[in-house]
């Protein structure tokens, strides 16, 4: 067994010990598909990552934008800001299996990796909604700041963060009691928020101040601000680096997690938005809204090396790989 293979198996074993029966099914497995929300086409496309071709398209009216995957990645959950719905897609048969009205302007979405609860940020409702996918009912609502957009959940499933765009703040929510326990002021108009592997720090992309706020989740304070390109949107982590999509600069900013120093800027398509790293960290995939592309970026060579044409207005804001 190679050292990498061994490390991977050990990591998987540790994950299984911690998570018990609900360990992430994808840890160590290669990703095969991307589910791409094409907002202007009112659809979700399925891209085969081996051939980089859109092989299926599922009609989802209501301007689909946000997306998250169930812990086993057998369901994709999609928000429709204009339809006010949470839409569940069975990823194996590529069909919509249920939908639920969750409130006004649902956009950001994340899944609790332990409980499987689905969290939706209602942009116009200034609230985070918790949905139980088993009963397909809203179980909790909590008020946050204005225009919540991105959501992130810690790996242990205890804490939820929302990026409250118009409040220039990140809300901290206790998942068990579903109460808001704090707020951290960040840069101007945070949109995407992500928690680094290990769960100690959160990174918020500030669309208007063109930077990323680094938040220590222990002390609940901003410990650093990293300059990135124009109109940053989403953040992903791979190979020891953070990758940030810069919508107006057609690029990814890459900086090191160890010392937050810049590594490089990678040119991609027009209006890069949703970004996610593969489970093994070898690539990040980026939805380019302006050019209708899903691009693959190699995290070792730091170059965009493959692209797939997708339907109009891809955003894939959230987790979209399986």
């Amino acid at each position: 067994m190679t050292r990498k293979g061994l490390a991977r198996r050990m990591a998987l074993a540790v994950a299984l010990c911690i998570a018990g029966a609900i360990a992430p099914a994808v840890a160590g497995e290669a990703v095969r598909e991307a589910f791409v929300t094409s907002q202007l086409a009112d659809s979700v496309g399925v891209v085969d990552l081996a051939t980089m071709k859109q092989v299926a398209e599922i009609a989802v009216p209501g301007k689909p934008a946000g997306i998250a995957m169930s812990p086993q990645r057998d369901f994709a959950y999609v928000t429709t800001p204009d339809g006010n719905e949470l839409v569940a897609i069975d990823t194996s048969v590529r069909k919509v299996v249920w939908r639920l009205n969750v409130g006004k302007g649902p956009l950001g979405i994340a899944v609790n990796p332990r409980s499987g609860a689905v969290y939706v940020a209602n942009w116009y409702g200034d609230e985070i909604v918790s949905v139980d996918p088993k009963t397909q009912q809203v179980t909790h609502r909590v008020k946050v700041g204005r225009a919540p957009s991105g959501i992130a959940v810690t790996e242990d499933g205890t804490t939820i963060l929302s990026a409250d765009r118009e409040s220039d703040a990140i809300s901290i929510i206790d998942a068990a009691s579903f109460t808001r326990t704090g707020e951290v002021k960040v840069g101007e108009h945070p949109f995407g928020v992500a928690i680094e592997p290990g769960g100690k720090r959160a990174f918020a992309a500030n669309v208007v101040s063109n930077d990323v706020s680094v938040i220590d989740l222990g002390t609940r304070k901003v410990t650093a601000t990293v300059k990135v390109g124009a109109r940053p949107y989403g953040v992903a982590f791979a190979n020891g680096n953070a990758f940030v999509t810069n919508q107006a600069a057609r690029s990814l900013s890459v900086f090191r997690l160890s010392d937050l120093q810049p590594v490089t800027t990678i040119p991609v398509g027009d209006y890069p938005e949703g970004i996610e790293a593969t489970a093994d960290g070898t690539a990040v995939y980026v939805a380019c809204w302006g050019d209708n592309l899903l691009q693959r970026v190699d995290t070792t060579t730091l170059k965009a090396d493959a692209k797939a044409e997708v339907s109009d207005g891809p955003r894939s804001f959230g987790a979209f790989l399986r």
Partner: protein
């Protein structure tokens, strides 16, 4: 009746606060035109961030002095109807004959949009030019159920007309001499 007046006043009072706010669904509109003039000549006009007078609606352009700097250089556009827009230069690539700018302040009565980004590029097509204007924008109302004049439909119609008018005037200006 009173309730409507109060609602209107409340909306007006809220507007300055909403200046940087927008809804969650961005739209796009791509307009193109063929111009019987060399690409270099067309680029000379549309690549000049200091003068957007080629668009019939723009009366005056006041840009920051000095070298063009992406995300730094800004300008104020005064429309013929008196409306003021400001924008920031987001791309300037003479080698690709591509310029892009993004609005910071808009006048909703003139164009019912927020965060309107324009990317204009000129391509050589056998001695003639093809100009493409890619618009990306949000409607000018950041809540559910917008009034008709601030809807997605109104925003798309206004941007489509604005870009078409600009490109047609550009064509007339560059082809006019012959």
């Amino acid at each position: 009746m009173n309730r409507i007046v109060i609602a209107a006043l409340a909306l007006a009072a809220a507007l300055p606060m909403l200046a940087n706010a927008h809804g969650p669904s961005r739209k796009k509109e791509v307009s193109t035109i063929e111009i019987d003039a060399p690409a270099d000549k067309v680029w000379e006009v549309v690549g000049n961030y200091r003068d957007m007078g080629w668009h019939p609606q723009i009366a005056k352009t006041e840009a920051d002095p000095g070298e063009y700097k992406k995300e730094v250089t800004k300008r104020k556009l005064t429309f013929k109807n008196g409306a003021i827009f400001t924008d920031t230069l987001t791309r300037y690539e003479p080698e690709n004959k591509t310029i892009a700018f993004l609005t910071n302040d808009e006048d909703l009565k003139t164009l019912p949009v927020e965060g309107y980004s324009s990317t204009i590029s000129v391509a050589d097509e056998g001695g003639k030019s093809k100009v493409e204007w890619k618009g990306a924008f949000y409607r000018g109302y950041m809540n559910n159920d917008p009034p008709p004049e601030l809807s997605d439909k109104a925003a798309i119609a206004a941007v489509t007309a604005f870009q078409k008018e600009g490109l047609e005037a550009l064509k007339a200006k560059l082809e006019g001499g012959k």
